[in-house]
């Protein structure tokens, strides 16, 4: 309720807000700002010297850095494209099937399909590495069952397939999230709307495309932006499955692993916090750009329905 004006200073508001604001500011906002600031400095003779955009010039101009950066960015875009094209449509389809009324075992399917999402990247990365390993032979054996054994290759070890394979593993792990969010959105569509559609003879597939899909578009928008942020921030799966070098031959390198290598160094290269900060700044700008596109271009055009 609104407090009456002209009341003495309400200390309790401050006390309620203080812990969250302090922790959040100290551990999240200040370091984020600090990282952005650090990208403008460089360590020369043991002291931090302001160099303006020099680090970014190195990142884009020096072939040692720029080749890796564009490679990581390209791979990251592909990683995102696969998620959008595979994960989200499958998620929507599963949610649509699950939400059909009187479906038996719906709770069982829901629970089972969400299992990979709760597992850690370490488990997922390693389990798939084993399954796809030509040494063990689970994948070739399975493909043999359907007569496709000749198509088997060690996908994670081939430059041309490794990134796509890893993206699909990530899709496998996270398909539960779009499924659940869309499922929740579908359940919240009121019965009357569906009934009205049925009275007009719109059922089955056309009911989904014409009635339900437009109603869940805001949820699909949210899922897209969550996928975007998650993908451009990804690191763990690649690191677990392929190591910090994101092999074979950097073919699975994405911005997260690139940042890790720049920051901590690897093999002969020494870690460079300032270049790390520059890469983090680029990631920040990319994510911010994506969020802004979503907020200002997509979300404002989505029509929301109030029931």
């Amino acid at each position: 309720m609104a407090a009456a004006p002209k009341r003495p200073f309400r200390w309790h508001i401050g006390i309620f807000l203080a812990p969250a604001v302090l922790v959040y500011t100290a551990i999240m906002i200040l370091p984020l700002a600090g990282t952005l600031q650090l990208s403008l400095f460089r360590n020369i003779d043991q002291s931090q010297v302001f160099v303006g955009l020099e680090n970014f010039r190195t990142l884009f101009g020096d072939p040692n850095w720029s080749v890796n950066f564009w490679n990581a960015l390209r791979n990251n875009v592909w990683f995102f494209v696969i998620h959008m094209l595979v994960q989200n449509p499958i998620g929507v389809m599963l949610a649509a099937l699950l939400s059909s009324p009187k479906l038996r075992f719906a709770a069982f399917y829901r629970t089972a399909i969400f299992v990979p999402t709760i597992l850690s990247f370490v488990i997922v990365g390693f389990a798939w590495k084993l399954i796809l390993s030509p040494l063990w032979g689970v994948a070739p054996n399975l493909m043999d069952l359907v007569g496709l054994k000749s198509l088997f290759t060690p996908w994670l070890g081939k430059e041309e397939y490794a990134l796509t394979t890893l993206s699909l593993i990530s899709v496998w792990q996270f398909v539960g999230i779009p499924m659940m969010l869309i499922y929740a959105a579908l359940l919240s569509i009121p019965e009357e709307v569906i009934e009205a559609a049925e009275c007009d003879g719109i059922t089955g597939m056309s009911q989904f495309w014409k009635i339900k899909l437009p109603l869940i578009l805001p949820s699909i928008g949210i899922i897209s932006i969550l996928t975007f942020v998650g993908n451009f921030n990804a690191f763990d799966l690649i690191y677990t499955a392929q190591g910090a070098l994101a092999g074979p031959n950097y073919s699975t390198d994405i911005l997260g692993t690139f940042l890790y290598r720049a920051f901590f160094g690897f093999q002969l290269q020494v870690g460079d916090p300032n270049m790390g900060a520059a890469i983090a700044t680029m990631m920040f700008l990319i994510i911010l750009g994506g969020v802004c596109v979503y907020l200002f271009l997509v979300q404002t055009r989505l029509r929301r329905y109030q029931f």
Binding site: L17, V23, I29, L97, I113, S188, D236
Partner: protein
């Protein structure tokens, strides 16, 4: 009314697709757990069959339990997750209450400020977070992880909880005020118990990424003392690249606790997610 839309082929089709996907989702987990109970010959000879008396072998588990300090890692993970969860829920609920209950100058700005962290991942601040932790001597302590995860979890917690706190009836709170309860009592005694279901939702959203995180334990607390189970498993698996029994057993040991917890709590978890908190 729904019977009108149901037809037998369509139901069968729906079940076929869902069942296929369920198999895809569970297959890798099942195959890892199944093979962890087999001898080396069994693992390679017949990877797709369940263990038979002939191939049954616990050698992998004995290797893992003999080698790794898994129980200790497990404790670390548990301490970090539970402590972060506690702070996220407490601080998040307090801030959400302040934002949803009182009208004050800067309310909207404060809400937006706190919501910023939902979209911008905390990971991008890692370089400066590490410097901060080095400066304050918190590197290789669980405190560092708890602080980072608390900050990471707060934005979403505040956002979801303030949506729910807006629904708590004003009459109830005003009745409390007339009875002379302080604002703190109103929050802890009246409001908090009423939003308990949404706290469960927030708990789930907060817990899974913390338990599974590899990045911050790797960077802030990689010492033997403070390793979490995710980091421990990662390093452990790296050591045993050729010992398939041990790898499969380690993976199964890492999967099973989470899986058991999930099966026990899946009903609450899914209800939490589908309760509309994230619309």
């Amino acid at each position: 009314m729904s019977t009108a839309t149901r037809s037998l082929p369509r139901t069968i089709g729906a079940h076929a697709i869902l069942l296929t996907y369920t198999v895809i989702a569970l297959f890798p987990v099942i195959i890892v757990i199944m093979n962890s109970f087999k001898s080396r010959a069994g693992i390679f000879g017949a990877p797709l069959t369940p263990p038979t008396p002939k191939t049954f072998d616990l050698i992998g588990y004995t290797t893992v339990i003999g080698q790794g300090d898994f129980i200790h890692y497990f404790q670390n993970s548990l301490v970090v997750t539970v402590a972060s969860l506690f702070f996220v829920l407490l601080f998040g609920a307090m801030a959400a209450f302040a934002l949803s209950e009182y009208r004050f100058r800067g309310n909207t700005m404060m809400g937006l400020y706190l919501a910023l962290g939902i979209m911008i991942p905390i990971r991008l601040g890692t370089v400066a977070i590490l410097q901060l932790m080095v400066a304050s001597g918190l590197v290789n302590t669980l405190t560092a992880l708890i602080l980072v995860y608390t900050a990471q979890g707060l934005p979403l917690a505040v956002f979801i909880l303030s949506e729910f706190m807006k629904q708590v009836s004003d009459d109830l709170k005003n009745a409390g005020r007339i009875d002379g309860l302080s604002e703190y009592t109103i929050f802890f005694r009246l409001v908090l118990p009423l939003v308990r279901p949404s706290m469960a939702t927030v708990a789930v959203f907060t817990m899974i990424p913390i338990w599974n995180d590899l990045w911050f334990p790797l960077i802030l607390a990689p010492s033997e003392e403070t390793k979490t189970v995710t980091l421990g498993a990662q390093l452990f698996l790296g050591q045993f690249v050729t010992n398939w029994n041990a790898i499969l057993a380690a993976l199964s040991l890492a999967i099973m606790p989470v899986l058991i917890l999930y099966v026990i709590f899946s009903r609450q978890l899914i209800r939490g997610i589908t309760s509309g908190a994230v619309k």
